[in-house]
């Protein structure tokens, strides 16, 4: 999962302090693994260097330095490309997929489209596996089945999530 793209995506809805970013990340995606401050700052400095974010304002005072980051146009493009790019189907992909779905919704993008793209990619791989299975021996079949079932589970989970979040988005929008 790309922390950089996720933080960029979070910035797309408006400039935030590093601390806010951490809190937002933890709230949406970091249920079992909260982000360290260090990870946030090192990531942000990499993004700054690549021109994907800029420092919007600096507040001085007690405590740590408080920089407020904003996303650049290049950053928005980068997020869009990332969201549109299907993930290489593999087991335990859901955290990335989930992040993508939530971000798509948060940024007003179409989750169904993302899902369709991802499904096409999954199916491409599944076709290959199915083909291999049909020609292969028992061991091949078992291995392919294992992969197929996991991919299938990913897709189903993704579909369910998309359906739920679509509904959620509707209620939010309403």
């Amino acid at each position: 999962m790309s922390i950089g793209h996720t933080l960029l995506g979070l910035l797309e809805s408006g400039p935030r302090h590093g601390y806010d970013l951490k809190r937002a990340f933890d709230e949406h995606f970091g249920h079992d693994r909260p982000l360290h401050y260090g990870q946030v700052y090192s990531t942000m400095s990499r993004l700054l260097k690549n021109g994907l974010v800029e420092v919007d304002a600096v507040e001085t005072g007690a405590g740590p330095e408080r920089k407020r980051y904003a996303i650049t146009d290049a950053g928005v493009t980068d997020v869009a490309q990332w969201l549109a790019r299907p993930e290489k189907p593999e087991p335990y992909l859901q955290s990335t997929l989930y992040t993508k779905v939530v971000l798509a919704l948060m940024t007003g993008r179409n989750a169904a489209e993302l899902l369709d793209t991802q499904r096409a990619e999954h199916l491409r791989l599944m076709r290959g596996l199915t083909e291999r299975k049909r020609g292969g021996d028992l061991a091949d079949q078992l291995i392919c089945d294992h992969a197929l079932f996991h991919l299938d589970a990913d897709l189903r989970w993704l579909e369910l999530t998309a359906a739920r979040l679509d509904k959620l988005a509707e209620t939010v929008a309403a």
């Binding site: 169904a112 999954h122 491409r124 076709r127 199915t130």
Partner: protein, 228 residues
């Protein structure tokens, strides 16, 4: 945009049941020998699309060309004759005539086309063997397992050597193993005989037997090209 040489080519199909639109401008095409999965959530209009393509129901508007003929202008009797002669069907359940034996069920499409009984039952027997269910030939559908019954149904869909088989959730009532067997046999047999298959399913593992997929959402069919 449909590539040339399509066997079935449908565009801008609209069909409403009462106030609810089931199809809302759907496009579709399939080439000879191609296996196309029609996917989408429940209620998206998958089955309605299949029924329209097969000429079972007429769309409210839009065109369907089959092999150069416009299906929407054919009369009911002509469409029936077309389905008898050139199409095969597999449904989820409730499709075998319960009082006929499996062999007689398979022979039914041939007999409806006027093939003599002995000849029809001989060909039915061949197809049952090909689908590895020849041992149930003399049994009634109520006496065979779901997987066997579905294979009998596949045999029946293929026995008249149709140019297109329409399969609506053919594995919906089966477990994984039986479902896979049915899909293996169906797609193998279809590819071997150059039969196109329109496969309505909501399962990715079933759709994985197809050459490409079409997604129906809110009555609109879209083709999503996979990133190469």
């Amino acid at each position: 945009m449909t590539p040339p040489g399509a066997l079935i080519e449908a565009s801008a199909l609209r069909k409403a049941y009462g106030p609810t639109p089931a199809l809302d401008g759907a496009d579709f095409s399939i080439h000879p020998g191609e296996v196309v999965a029609v996917m989408g959530p429940s209620g998206s209009g998958k089955s309605t699309l299949l029924h329209c393509l097969a000429g079972i129901i007429g769309p409210d508007s839009g065109t369907i060309r089959y092999d150069g003929r416009d299906l929407t202008v054919l009369r009911d009797g002509e469409r029936s004759a077309l389905r008898r002669a050139e199409f095969g069907f597999v449904f989820q359940f409730g499709q075998l005539v319960p009082e006929l034996t499996c062999a007689e069920n398979v022979a039914l499409p041939l007999r409806l086309n006027g093939v003599r009984r002995t000849e029809a039952e001989r060909q039915a027997q061949e197809w049952l063997e090909r689908l590895e269910v020849d041992e149930v030939a003399g049994k009634r559908p109520g006496e065979v397992s779901g997987g066997q019954g579905q294979r009998v149904a596949v045999a029946r869909a293929l026995v008249s050597r149709p140019r297109v088989v329409f399969a609506d959730e053919p594995t919906g009532a089966l477990d994984s193993l039986n479902g896979e067997r049915v899909m293996d046999l169906l797609t193998d047999a279809a590819r071997a005989s150059g039969t196109a298959v329109v496969l309505v399913t909501h399962e990715a593992r079933v759709a994985a037997y197809s050459d490409r997929e079409v997604v129906v959402r809110d009555g609109v069919a879209r083709e999503v090209a996979a990133a190469a």
